[in-house]
């Protein structure tokens, strides 16, 4: 099957610091592909280049067979690339429902409509409510997003991503800062999404990554040192040496 997302020789430097060095990887439709690596390995920089927030110095980003290297963040989002952020990025003054309805609005028809009350548009609210239900946040639809708990905000961000009906979800540490219960809920949620969406996941929680990912790529100092199934990565000597503690894999 042709890959949904393909990175070819991606490189990015900030001054003398090479943060991404010749990274090539592919995400197949429907698979969960995790990128792991120690702090400072360049994971977030890589995500930025995939989503279009940063322009790589060299290399290509191909999405659904199309070279999107020159497109910016909104243009890539319109092609079906939805991203969540390491630091929660929601509209704090909107209700949870309005946050998600905005995502529905962004993909359905024009936003240059000036007169009807957007809040009263069932065509936006119904899919938004469905997305909230799917992430288990249906009961909080009317709450102002800024007042949600940290875990709920992470759920809301997922609902926003889902509501934009993407073909690839780009999740930057979706579990960051979540407590154990919230983590369990979010992992179950991500597992339920497998198959429906291709997901590129950057995450520090090793347990979650090994439980979820179909394939794992390991990034160290901006370079991919290994890529494979969780079993292969577990057994990979270089990975063990570079990154994973022996006991973490037990």
């Amino acid at each position: 099957m042709a890959p949904l997302l393909e990175l070819r020789g991606l490189s990015k430097s900030f001054g003398a610091l090479a943060v991404t060095r010749g990274v090539s990887l592919a995400v197949a439709p429907g698979e969960i592909h995790a990128v792991i690596g120690p702090n400072g390995a360049g994971k977030t920089t890589l995500i930025h280049q995939i989503s279009g927030t940063l322009r790589p110095d060299a290399g290509q980003v191909l999405f659904r067979g199309q070279d999107v290297t020159a497109l910016d963040l909104p243009a890539r989002a319109r092609l079906g690339l939805a991203r969540s952020f390491q630091i929660t990025c929601i509209i704090p003054g909107f209700t949870a429902l309005a946050n998600v309805a905005l995502a529905v609005q962004a993909r359905s028809g024009s936003s240059f409509r000036f007169f009807r009350r957007a809040e009263a548009e069932e065509a936006l609210n119904a899919p938004a409510r469905a997305a909230l239900e799917r992430v288990g946040l249906g009961h909080r639809a009317g709450a102002v997003a800024g007042t949600l708990s940290h875990g709920e905000k992470r759920q809301l961000e997922l609902a926003i991503a889902l509501a934009s009906a993407p073909s690839l979800l780009l999740l930057d540490e979706p579990l960051a800062g979540a407590g154990p219960e919230e983590t369990a809920r979010l992992v179950a949620l991500l597992r339920a999404l497998r198959g429906d969406y291709a997901i590129l996941l950057v995450e520090h929680d090793m347990q979650a990554v090994f439980a979820l990912a179909d394939r794992i790529s390991v990034l160290v100092y901006g370079q991919l040192i290994a890529s494979g199934t969780p079993e292969e990565i577990r057994a990979h000597p270089e990975v063990r040496a570079a990154y994973l503690g022996e006991d973490e894999l037990a």
């Binding site: 963040l73 952020f85 509209i91 704090p92 995502a103 936003s111 409509r113 000036f114």
Partner: protein, 322 residues
């Protein structure tokens, strides 16, 4: 309709009060002239509130759009054209065009840079009008007469002019409220709070902000055309940068985030100026501290005052009950 009444009780009460002023006997030219000026500035301030409160764009050049509307009236007057069906659309289009063209450039920046660049454009217009010798330059231009409609001098009468200004102020408020609640306004408001989220959804804030600036400019142009008629005189003072600052202050005093606050702020500023200037020659010395106190203690602005008072009242009653 009842939902609208409940949600918008305060602005509707304000508009009703303004409608009742002449009915209650205040009909002298001086008072109504003062109120007309306040309502006209209120229209301009409401359009600025759409930008500041709705889109997070604090323009310090909004008086330029107001002035361009006024100068459109003066220019056409010079050419002998006083027909309202020509004058008003011309004033509105000229100001909208100014806002569109300056918006194309200034919206590429943000924050302090946006404030400075809008100020710079405003100053350019100010100096351009100062050197327009055909329109009196610095001395300004006195209109031959007010704008007519099919030859009828509708704007000459105090009462018709009062209700025209009030009607347009109400329409401006209603129009801007609808805009902010629409899909378009939702994108604006979201981009004000978290532009990265909006971009990640595939929406670039730029065109939305540009349309908002153009609409706000058009409304300020309308206010400018009314202002020229109210004063029957146009000079560069109408678009000096302190006037832009006044408009911004009306928005803040009235309460950013409440569209009707802008009209309230305009009324408060114009009336306070009038009262204080009678009390003391150096009234501006009083005015400054008053404004500072208002900003510090009225976080929600004048529009937030009723809610604040109600809250205080409930707290006091609670304490009494205990």
């Amino acid at each position: 309709m009842t939902a609208l009444l409940r949600r918008q009780a305060l602005p509707l009460a304000l508009l009703l009060a303004l409608a009742l002023v002449p009915v209650l006997g205040v009909q002298d030219g001086f008072s109504l002239g003062l109120l007309a000026r306040a309502m006209i500035l209120g229209i301009a301030a409401t359009s600025l509130s759409l930008l500041v409160g709705g889109a997070g764009l604090a323009s310090l050049g909004h008086a330029a759009a107001l002035g361009i509307g006024a100068y459109a009236v003066a220019t056409l007057d010079l050419l002998g054209i006083t027909e309202g069906a020509v004058v008003f659309p011309a004033a509105i289009l000229a100001a909208a065009l100014y806002a569109l063209l300056t918006g194309l450039v200034s919206l590429r920046t943000g924050g302090v840079h946006f404030i400075m660049i809008t100020l710079a454009f405003g100053q350019m217009v100010y100096f351009a009008t100062s050197s327009l010798s055909a329109l009196g330059g610095d001395d300004g231009y006195t209109l031959y007469g007010r704008t007519e409609f099919l030859g009828a001098r509708l704007l000459e009468g105090r009462l018709p002019f009062h209700y025209l200004c009030l009607g347009l102020a109400a329409a401006t408020w209603l129009f801007c409220s609808m805009l902010l609640e629409s899909r378009f306004g939702r994108v604006l408001r979201a981009a004000k709070e978290e532009p990265m989220r909006v971009r990640a959804l595939g929406l670039s804030p730029y065109p939305y902000r540009l349309v908002a600036m153009t609409i706000a400019g058009a409304l300020a142009g309308l206010a400018g055309a009314l202002m020229a008629n109210a004063m029957e005189f146009v000079s560069p003072a109408i678009l000096s940068w302190p006037r832009s600052a006044d408009l911004l202050f009306m928005v803040i005093l009235g309460g950013v985030g409440h569209l009707h606050g802008a009209l309230l702020g305009a009324l408060a500023l114009v009336l306070a100026e009038e009262v204080l200037s009678h009390l003391w020659d150096h009234w501006r010395l009083l005015f400054g501290p008053l404004l500072i106190l208002a900003v510090i203690f009225l976080r929600g602005g004048l529009a937030g005052l009723p809610a604040l008072l109600a809250q205080k009242l409930v707290q006091t009653l609670d304490r009494r009950a205990r």
